[in-house]
Symmetry: C2
């Protein structure tokens, strides 16, 4: 098995190692500068409604690629990749219930499956660090703090549910700079959706996360909230689709596209 230090830095090489079953851990830190993506696979029967849900809620659900029904190849993000093998770990859900965690979904693949690849905040975490904006969860060696808000997403067909957000505590100066920087990445959640009072968006206690790890908020800091890629997964699972396959937490798809290629300015 490989360690992070042994890993190559190009996406195709890393996907090969992952596809060969030699890397089962999370993908944070792999291929710096290349866009990583959330994965959600649904039957074609649900795909139009899900894509409309994403279109109506672009902050939590920025769509980077949609495969042709039955094709495991994401033509925009990495035409040579295979979403059935190239992620370290997957989750199989049947009617909304977690059924299995596997490192290869080839046995589950069907001609009517459509894979959605959605933007991920790893992209702007890199952009923030590059711009000298410190990230508390990195300092504390944790994963991002994630909360369910009282803000409803715009529904589409069977899909509806609350907006899920990630939170990063920042000084006011860094909150302003972070707003500028993340605005450049609408394909990866874009600008914050809220700054300041957590109660205003239905979060009563920052120490009680719904996903991820709680991080410390220091005196004088503002909590800054971004729409989170957990939203589409949580919303899709709520609708209890007959089959849904996702990446396991932190085990993202590594694309051939550089973060800088997806920025608007």
């Amino acid at each position: 098995m490989y360690s992070l230090a042994d890993m190559p830095t190009t996406p195709a090489e890393v996907r090969k190692i992952v596809g060969d079953g030699e890397w089962h851990r999370h993908t944070s830190g792999l291929c710096p500068g290349y866009t990583q993506a959330n994965l959600a696979i649904l039957p074609l029967e649900a795909a139009f409604e899900f894509l409309v849900f994403c279109q109506r809620n672009p902050r939590p659900c920025p769509v980077l690629d949609v495969t042709e029904p039955g094709s495991p190849h994401p033509r925009l993000l990495a035409p040579s990749a295979d979403v059935r093998t190239d992620l370290p770990l997957y989750r199989i859900y049947r009617r909304g219930e977690l059924q299995a965690e596997v490192d290869d979904i080839t046995p589950y693949w069907r001609d009517d499956l459509v894979a959605f690849l959605l933007g991920c905040s790893l992209t702007f975490d890199w952009a923030l660090l590059n711009a000298g904006v410190p990230l508390r969860h990195r300092e504390e060696d944790k994963i991002t703090a994630v909360y369910v808000t009282n803000i409803p997403c715009t529904p589409a067909g069977r899909f509806h549910g609350p907006l899920v957000v990630s939170m990063r505590p920042m000084s006011p100066t860094h909150a302003i700079r972070a707003t500028q920087i993340t605005s450049r990445y609408p394909s990866n959640h874009g600008a914050p959706v809220h700054i300041g009072d957590p109660a205003a968006i239905g979060i009563t206690d920052l120490s009680r996360v719904d996903y991820g790890d709680a991080v410390s908020v220091k005196p004088g800091e503002l909590p800054v909230f971004w729409a989170c890629g957990v939203t589409p997964q949580a919303v899709a699972l709520e609708s209890k689709p007959e089959l849904m396959i996702t990446h396991a937490p932190g085990c993202m798809f590594i694309s051939d596209v550089r973060d800088a290629e997806l920025s608007v300015l």
Copy 2:
């Protein structure tokens, strides 16, 4: 009948006048500052493939709203509007052939129709004029010059075809400023796709437009090319859908959303 000077400036009032059949002309100049949109209506059977086509080609096909199947109300852009009556003039296509031009599509409406509202360059034309970038087609009282390029769109299912572009001649200084300004509006075609030599994108003669009007290019000016909303319409018609309904040229949907609300920075 109303003249432009008599027309109110709020979208709901203008849509009422249009819906009452008292305005059949193009919508340029109506409701300055409010986003106008291209309309494409397709049967649900083709809607997923068309939406994937738009997702894969966001420059020519920026999706602003998708209605629920059978609903004529665009909930994101103007929940009180009705796409069956609120545009001045529509075109009905059967199997890719223009069948009729009508001012009310209620008789053609069906439970399986889905309306797509797509961003339009009227938005950034306003932004350019506001920033002091002159527009030749306005100076010459024409509509924009539009060309079919040799750049293929990324196909999706039955939908494929070349990118269509609009062209605005500009001084190098204005071309740079226009690139900055239009980059802020990815929902309305965003930054240019090409600057300079028309032959590089398959346009042999700027005086021979494929749509719209040719405009003069002065010495020292560069032609600047943006992806154009004619693209999705042309591509959809090429696939000869059983039924497709669009706005008539220049007779756009006027939304409740301000252009400034759709800018990313």
